[in-house]
Structures are given as structure tokens and as C-alpha cells.
């Protein structure tokens, strides 16, 4: 187990390194000489200042050396400086990360729980109205763009019914503490988390249903039935446990999409996470910040994939990770 974890971590680090290198070249592709852009942003673009900047950031050095400096910087969590926001990129991201984690993990929990639940129901009552209903419901949510679901949620629950706040992380100026604060944040969290969760819920529903119907026909289920076990026990202990394997795999594959969805959701709901930060960086063409967020997103996906691999191993002890 330990060597398996170590192997995965090493592999993840190598991929991350490759992403950082890719990032370096993307920065070089960005329009404009970085030094001139920076000087312009700092409000003084005379030759001396540009030259100073070039020296300070090592832009006068040959490309491989620049790459080395950049990778070394990222390794020590130095992601560069955002001149628009007048703060180090790493600091900006660090401030926003908890909000994104709260949003994505809540959405993930919602989508997985509801998806497995609906999928199980659909498979249990395959061919009935309930099954058709759930299938159509899943198909529709699977086809809706996240930003539109978000806006329709606002239209319905904030504008028309006035039940939920339409933006932000907490009520500004309320200065709530303790439980009242938690409730306030939860109220703000419901809509973004549901918006983000519904799309993935639809995929998990479809996957769970298909997978359960497939497992149901296998011999060991017949054996269980022949032993006289009740239907509920067979569904829960025999079918569901085996049917969940592809769902776990899918959850791992989807972690990148989840982060992408967070960018959209946070933008619409003004949720103060790194997705919103990415959007702001985009609007201001703040490439340092944009690419910094990109590296962190990639790192998050790698960590998430590692966790899914471990969960997969726990759910299915048969799997041996030999390489």
C-alpha cells in the first residue's frame, strides 16, 4: 500500500512538473513583452525601468535558465507577482482556496449522493415510469450549460421567490459569528453548490443505473437470490457495491471538469474562490495570475485523482497495483 502511494505521488509530481513547464511556455506565448507590460502596469515605462525589470525577473537570461528559475520559483510556491492586484499570486490564491474547496467538495458530495441514490432507484424500477422519469431528468440536466442553470436558479430562487441570496459568500456587513455565521454561509452556498452538483449528479445517475443493470445479470447475483436473500439485501450488498466501481472511476475523471465548472459557478454567484479569481484575471488580462491559478487547479486535480485511486483500492481490494 505504502509503495503504491509513493509511486502515485512520484508520478503526480512528474505530471505537475510537466504542467509547470507547459505553463512557462504559455506565459512566453502571451501577447506583449512581459517587462514592458509590467512597466506599463506599474505606470512608468521608461527604458531604465524596463531594463531593471528585465534583470529583476531574469528576462535577459537565456530561455533554459529562465525556465529553471521559473520551476524553482513554483517549487517554493512563488507563482510570480500580480501587478494588477499588487500582491504575490500565491498569496491571492491562498486566500481564495478555502472557498473553492468548500464549494467543490459540497457540490461533489451532493452530486455523488443524489446520483447514486437516483441511479439505484432507476435500476431497481427499470422499465417503469419512475425509471423513465429519472432518466429524462438526468438527460436534461446533462445537457444544460452550468452558467445557465446558475442564472435560472437566481431568477427562480432569488428574483422571483426571494428565498436565497444570489451572490457572495456571506451577508456583507452583518458581522455574524459562530452558528449564525455558519447558517449565513450555508444559505449562500446552497445555490452555487446545487448548480455545480446537478450536472455531475446527472452523469452519476446514468452511470449508476447502467452499471447496476449490468451487475444484476451476473452469476453471483443469481447465487445470492438462490440462497434466498431478500431483494433489498441483494441490491445493497451485492449489486450496488460492485456497480459503484465505474462510478468511482468516473468521479476521478471528472475532477478536472468539476474545477472548470467552479470557474463558471463562482463567476455567476460572485463566490470568492479561485475560479472567480481566474475570471478576474481573465478580464484584466493578468496573465501571471491566470497561469498561477491554472497551475494550482492542475495540482488540485492531481491530488483528487490520487485520492480516487486510493478509494478505488479500498472499494475493490482485488486490484493489485503492480507496475
Amino acid at each position: 500500500m505504502l509503495s503504491f502511494v509513493a509511486q502515485r505521488v512520484v508520478k503526480g509530481v512528474i505530471v505537475l512538473l510537466a504542467i509547470v513547464v507547459l505553463n512557462f511556455f504559455l506565459i512566453r506565448l502571451a501577447p506583449g513583452d512581459p517587462a514592458i507590460v509590467m512597466a506599463g502596469e506599474a505606470g512608468a515605462s521608461d527604458q531604465v525601468f524596463v531594463k531593471q525589470l528585465r534583470e529583476k525577473f531574469g528576462l535577459d537570461k537565456p530561455l533554459p535558465e529562465q525556465l529553471f528559475i521559473y520551476v524553482k520559483g513554483v517549487a517554493t510556491l512563488d507563482l510570480g507577482f500580480s501587478f494588477r492586484q499588487q500582491a504575490p499570486v500565491a498569496k491571492l490564491i491562498g486566500e481564495r482556496l478555502p472557498a473553492t474547496l468548500l464549494l467543490t467538495l459540497t457540490a461533489f458530495a451532493i452530486s455523488l449522493t443524489l446520483g447514486i441514490l437516483f441511479g439505484t432507484f432507476a435500476a431497481r424500477f427499470a422499465g417503469t415510469f419512475l425509471d423513465t422519469g429519472i432518466t429524462i431528468f438526468a438527460l436534461i440536466f446533462y445537457a444544460m450549460p452550468i452558467f445557465w442553470v446558475a442564472l435560472m436558479g437566481i431568477l427562480l430562487f432569488s428574483v422571483t421567490m426571494d428565498w436565497l441570496p444570489s451572490f457572495g459568500y456571506e451577508t456583507v456587513g452583518a458581522n455574524l459569528t459562530g452558528l449564525a455565521h455558519a447558517v449565513d454561509v450555508a444559505k449562500h452556498l446552497i445555490m452555487p453548490a446545487m448548480t455545480l452538483g446537478l450536472f455531475f449528479m446527472a452523469t452519476y445517475t446514468r452511470m449508476t443505473r447502467a452499471s447496476m443493470l449490468e451487475v444484476k445479470r451476473l452469476d453471483f447475483v443469481k447465487t445470492a437470490r438462490a440462497k434466498g436473500l431478500s431483494d433489498a439485501v441483494i441490491q445493497r450488498r451485492h449489486v450496488l457495491r460492485n456497480a459503484l466501481l465505474p462510478v468511482v472511476t468516473l468521479a476521478g475523471v471528472h475532477s478536472g471538469t468539476l474545477i472548470g465548472g467552479a470557474v463558471i459557478t463562482e463567476t455567476v454567484f460572485a463566490w470568492p474562490g479561485i475560479g472567480r479569481l481566474m475570471y478576474d484575471a481573465l478580464l484584466q488580462r493578468d496573465y501571471n495570475l491566470l497561469l498561477g491559478v491554472f497551475v494550482i487547479c492542475s495540482a488540485m486535480v492531481l491530488i483528487f485523482n490520487l485520492i480516487t485511486d486510493l478509494v478505488y483500492r479500498l472499494v475493490d481490494p482485488r486490484i493489485e497495483y503492480a507496475t
Binding site: P145, I146, F147, W148, L213, V263, T267, L282, Y287, F294
Partner: protein, 279 residues
């Protein structure tokens, strides 16, 4: 072929999907001829509610532009970007997957590591970064969507080729001294085609969603109106004018739904064994 259409038309999802797609394509192709009004032109007072004037059936946006005209012209961009970026992704993914599966060994290892690398990078974030750096235009949008969507194609084709490579008819072709490229192109790929077609139809749907999301964030081609752009533009005035965001969103929903249904119908028609298992 006849058999294929027969089973395709037997599955209800396939039929509904085909109808939706045909409708969307005809809107995209003929719509702009029937409604020559530029979607950028001011035609009425701003914030005209829908269903009040028959000339502008879906009302106007914050600048008095015709929402209906925007939706018709937007169909072109959505479908075009969806189709072309999928084609580009296939052109990249199929050869990579075929070579990995056919040659195996080190070639397979190298190509699959490369594919996995692209699959690990969060796709939407990469698309945002690419379009932002290359500057938004229809070309950079198509390129970015293709870059983030080819890995599943490569993996699928690799798997198919891997299992077909050991078949006897392929062995026979090897024995008769056919060249590798001839065997891959003429013997293996035609037999690996059906799952790729199913995947491609679903990829067009995903590409449309991606394009609309990019346009929503302001990364659309500034010269072309698209559904995502319209929703994005209507976002700030959603409290006064719901219709600006609602209608283009419905258009995206219906097109994506149609393509997903076609994917299911194709799956039923091309892999009849698999589809019966689902019942």
C-alpha cells in the same frame, strides 16, 4: 447501411435526436437567409418584452437588438464550432490511438503518457488559458476545444485497435506482406469505427457546451454572435429582462440534448448487444 437506419429509427431517442439536429442545422443554414436582419443592429427600443411585437417575437436586449435574430445567427456559430472542433480532435486523436494500439511497446507507452498528461490537465481551465493567450477568435476557440477533447478519442481507438490487432484477418494481412499503414487504414480502423462515431456525436455536444461557456466568460469571437455570448450579456440585467438569458439558454439545452440523444440512438444501432443489456 439500410439495417443501420432501420435500427436507428427504431430507437425513440435516436429519432428525437435526429429531428432536433435536422431542425438546428436547417436554422443554421437557412435561418440567416430568411432573417437578414443583422443580430448586432438596433431594431427596437431596448428591453422590449417578448411576444409583444411580431416583428421581434422574442423581444430585444439591453441595446435594442433582436433576440430572435441573435438566436438564429448563434446557431451557426454553435454548430460550426461543435462540428469542426470535433473533427480536429478526431484528426489528432485517431492516429495517436491507432499507432499506440498497433505498435504497442515503447510507442504505446510514450503516446499514452502524452495522452494521460493532457487528460489530467483540467480541460476547461486549459481552454480558458489557451483562448485568452491566443486572443479570442473562431480559430483559437476551435483549436482550444480540440486540444482539450482529443485524449478520450486516442484512448478509445487504442483499446479498439489493441483488440483487433490479434484477429486472424489482421494476421493474414501481415502474412501477405501488407504495409503497416495499409493494415491500419484499410483493415483495422474501419472495424473500430462504430464506437468512435458514438463518441464523436457526444463530443459535438460537449464542444457546444464548452464554446458557450467560453463565450459566456467573454472569450467568444468578438465578430460573431453566439448563444453563450447572449446569455453572458443578459446576465447583468437578469432582474429587468429575463428573456435575454432564458431563450439562448433553451437553444443550447435543446441542441445539446438532441446530440446526446443521437449518441444514444447510434449506440443502440451500432452496438445492439450492448444496448439490450441496458434494458
Amino acid at each position: 447501411m439500410k439495417q443501420f437506419w432501420k435500427s436507428m429509427l427504431r430507437s425513440p431517442s435516436g429519432v428525437i435526436g435526429l429531428i432536433i439536429l435536422l431542425l438546428a442545422i436547417s436554422v443554421a443554414v437557412f435561418g440567416p437567409m430568411l432573417f437578414p436582419n443583422s443580430p448586432w443592429r438596433m431594431v427596437q427600443r431596448p428591453f422590449l418584452p417578448p411576444f409583444t411585437l411580431s416583428a421581434v417575437p422574442l423581444g430585444t436586449d439591453a441595446l435594442g437588438r433582436d433576440v430572435f435574430a441573435g438566436m438564429i445567427f448563434g446557431a451557426r456559430v454553435s454548430l460550426l464550432v461543435g462540428l469542426v472542433s470535433t473533427l480536429v480532435a478526431l484528426v489528432v486523436g485517431v492516429p495517436i490511438g491507432a499507432m499506440a494500439g498497433y505498435f504497442g511497446g515503447k510507442v504505446d507507452d510514450a503516446l499514452m503518457r502524452f495522452t494521460e498528461f493532457f487528460q489530467t490537465i483540467p480541460s476547461f481551465a486549459l481552454a480558458i488559458v489557451l483562448v485568452a493567450i491566443l486572443q479570442p477568435s473562431i480559430y483559437s476557440i476551435v483549436a482550444s476545444i480540440a486540444v482539450v477533447s482529443w485524449p478520450p478519442v486516442a484512448r478509445l481507438v487504442r483499446g479498439e485497435v489493441l483488440s483487433l490487432r490479434t484477429r486472424e484477418y489482421v494476421q493474414a494481412a501481415v502474412v501477405t506482406g501488407q504495409s503497416n499503414s495499409w493494415i491500419i487504414l484499410r483493415e483495422i480502423l474501419p472495424n473500430a469505427l462504430s464506437p468512435v462515431i458514438v463518441l464523436a456525436s457526444l463530443m459535438v455536444a460537449t464542444a457546444i457546451l464548452l464554446e458557450s461557456s467560453l463565450a459566456f466568460l467573454g472569450l467568444g469571437d468578438p465578430n460573431l454572435i453566439s448563444w453563450g455570448y447572449m446569455v453572458g450579456a443578459g446576465r447583468t440585467v437578469i432582474r429587468q429582462a429575463w428573456w435575454i438569458t432564458v431563450f439562448p439558454g433553451v437553444a443550447i439545452l435543446i441542441s445539446v440534448l438532441g446530440l446526446n440523444l443521437i449518441g444514444e440512438g447510434l449506440n443502440d444501432a451500432l452496438n445492439p448487444r450492448l444496448s439490450r443489456e441496458g434494458r
